[in-house]
Symmetry: C2
DNA sequence: GGGACGGTTCGGTGCCGGCCGAACCGTCGG
DNA sequence: CCGACGGTTCGGCCGGCACCGAACCGTCCC
């Protein structure tokens, strides 16, 4: 038996429990949660959550940050988010929501949301499409930012050129959008654009979840920058 | 708790057992194994292997093909191979081999091997590098076959143009090479090239494992086609 | 037909791990 | 200093599952 099998099994075992899986999926919104929030979200006692969170951090999937009596947890690494997305993409779309509150929330998520550190939903797909039709992104043989795209990111889009010089993670990566059933832009470029749009106030979080909306300023900005219309 | 958590946990649970993990990793060589071979490889009784293999096929990770009294198993889908590769890439390289037989085998694997359906090891990386320096593959912002690369694949490389017209899987994908610690070409293009080189006799399997060697004909062919030297 | 062989089914066993509640520790705020 | 609160540790319970051997079923070949 190959030595790697034990390690692979150990990694998979971290996600093989419904409670831990729910915690990781919750953290896919890209923010840090407290241990208690994760316990409530997963529906288990705080003591149980503590054990799970220890296992996940020791396994390298989560990183913790202690502040006073709080313990904040987030995904350790963008690659963890990528792994979770890849696995979730195999599962097919979740069953449709029922109930007014759930439907409203689902509609908001479908319009726009964060997917770990980049934009998803109709907003994310529209961004991806606009970049593709303008020749900034090439989807024909993979998922790559073009020469023109790189110039655009560091020019009109206003991102730091330094960030793209010796990237530690792929600049462009396809992430399957589970509401739109099509890939959207992830990777370094997707993360920086999301960050930038939030900083500019073009996109704002709705409440405390992962849903986002396009602000009036964002509506103008996205139209001027990429010709994207009708997302607000 | 999100509905998706249960599904994600179920998927992960399939790989969360050392025996099943070993079976899946063995099948990463891209060929079909019999149930008995997998049982022996994993070191469990045949009855135990039967149960595991049932779970893996029902979970959609494996596909079976019955021939007479044999039951052949292979990975269900290239996307399963991709998932396994991504997970394996998180584990870091395996510990170095010890013992003469193991070291010889490891050296052969490092020179060249199949990684599911494409080439890996020094051979796979050399292929990837040669394509990149010739402008056929663009690694700057993702991992994509260029316009020139597509023409090359369907021209000098002798692949069917039809295969690349409405691809069901990414044409180019980066797969982290666990001996070379660098990405090599996977995806549709990687698979077709591997297939082609095996058919031409440029590359041949060593024994029954996943190790491959470059034949004298392959040495000439790869030099003429891509300027690759010194792999035999 | 009969033996060899690959694969499956079925009980039975033992262990691992997920869960909880209660007690406890450290931080924060009055 | 004390109560409230977030988080942790510990003991104990319970279910699930990985494993095996023995019996059984089909296929292949002599």
């Amino acid at each position: 038996m190959s030595t790697g099998a034990k390690d692979l099994a150990a990694l998979a075992a971290l996600l093989a429990d419904e409670t831990r899986a729910a915690m990781c999926l919750a953290l896919l919104d890209g923010r840090a949660w407290t241990a208690g929030e994760l316990a409530a979200h997963a529906g288990v006692a705080r003591s149980t959550a503590t054990e799970h969170l220890h296992r996940l951090t020791e396994g390298g999937l989560l990183a913790e940050e202690r502040q006073g009596r709080h313990r904040y947890l987030r995904l350790a690494d963008p690659s963890v988010a990528g792994l979770l997305e890849d696995m979730a993409a195999r599962l097919g779309p979740a069953r449709p929501a029922t109930g007014l509150r759930a439907v409203t929330a689902a509609a908001a998520l479908q319009r726009g949301r964060t997917c770990y550190d980049h934009l998803a939903g109709r907003l994310g797909v529209a961004l991806t499409d606009a970049m593709t039709t303008r020749g900034l992104l090439d989807q024909r043989g993979g998922f790559a930012v073009t020469e023109a795209g790189l110039a655009w990111l560091t020019g009109p889009a206003g991102l730091e050129p330094a960030a793209f010089e010796r990237p530690k993670r792929p600049i462009a990566r396809a992430c399957l959008d589970w509401t739109e059933r099509r890939p959207h832009l992830a990777g370094l470029a997707g993360a920086r654009l999301c960050e930038r749009f939030l900083a500019l106030g073009w996109v704002a979080r709705i409440g405390s979840g992962r849903a986002v909306r396009v602000t009036p300023a964002g509506s103008r900005g996205l139209r001027d920058l990429l010709g994207i219309e009708g997302l607000d």
